[in-house]
Symmetry: C2
Subunit: 168 residues, 2 copies
């Protein structure tokens, strides 16, 4: 009988972390997309959305890429948990390792760009209307959830490094 | 005779990557600190520095932490290259792994916060004076160098994951 696929962490734990990542990123994306703010200037309504800001657009891009990747990994891990076989064999461990690394860096930069911009924009808008404040707070909530998603991906990244086949 | 310390990548290559990281981060910090912009408003000179922006302050903090960590790692790796012994033994491999991970995430967030803020600030200041533009461009140069430093740290982080003792 062939030995079980080498992995330092139980696949079930990996799967739970993936599902938590997916949930955080999904809610983050929904909050970000649904967030709008309308202000009237002399009978003209001006609506501000997340895509009026480069940083929020970047945050949404990284979140969507993270969602797609996490969905794929969840499916692969579900298959591993239910059948005990790893699709793609040992080569897949390398894909997990580099994938987790790249996706976690992407999410970290999305979160940081968004937080950095929000903080400095808030500082420059001090004394602004409460509507803008509410818009910013919702964007911060979405960013915080994406931060949680990043932390879970960082944990997955540690797991996948432990599972790497030894090269020496 | 004891076997040589297990490492998948030559210590000399690690050392070169560390030194490149250090150089990028050092120049980045110097450009960021030296960057000022003075404008006269009705006989009053107003000087803008990096520490007037949360994002640039955060970028400098992450760069300084990265510099301290890279200096320590360079010293340890120099010792390993010159004597063939690893200070701290195998336990140090774990320190390298988690250290590289945390520091590379820190640098990534510093770079992203700074780029995100600069982009959105530039968009909102379109048509501003050329002095502000120059200030922003220098800040972008510092951020780009820090981005290079981050990429080198990410490479170190891949090396340290490969060098991890196998846990299975």
């Amino acid at each position: 009988m062939a030995p079980p696929p080498s992995t330092a962490v139980s696949p079930l734990v990996s799967l739970i972390v993936r599902i938590l990542t997916f949930a955080c990123l999904l809610i983050s994306a929904i909050i970000l997309i649904a967030n709008t703010y309308t202000q009237s200037f002399q009978d003209v309504d001006i609506t501000i959305k997340f895509n009026d800001f480069y940083s929020y657009r970047y945050l949404l891009s990284t979140t969507v890429i993270g969602l797609a990747y996490t969905l794929l990994q969840s499916a692969l891990t579900t298959f591993l948990v239910s059948t005990g076989n790893r699709i793609g064999g040992e080569g897949m461990l390398q894909f997990d390792f580099y994938g987790d690394k790249v996706i976690s860096y992407l999410l970290a930069t999305g979160v940081a760009a968004s937080f950095g911009m929000t903080l400095d924009l808030k500082a420059s808008l001090s004394g602004g209307s409460s509507g803008v404040d509410k818009f910013m707070s919702k964007a911060e909530a979405a960013t915080s959830l994406c931060l949680l998603g990043f932390l879970f991906t960082a944990i997955s990244s540690i797991f996948s490094a432990f599972s790497l086949p030894k090269r020496v």
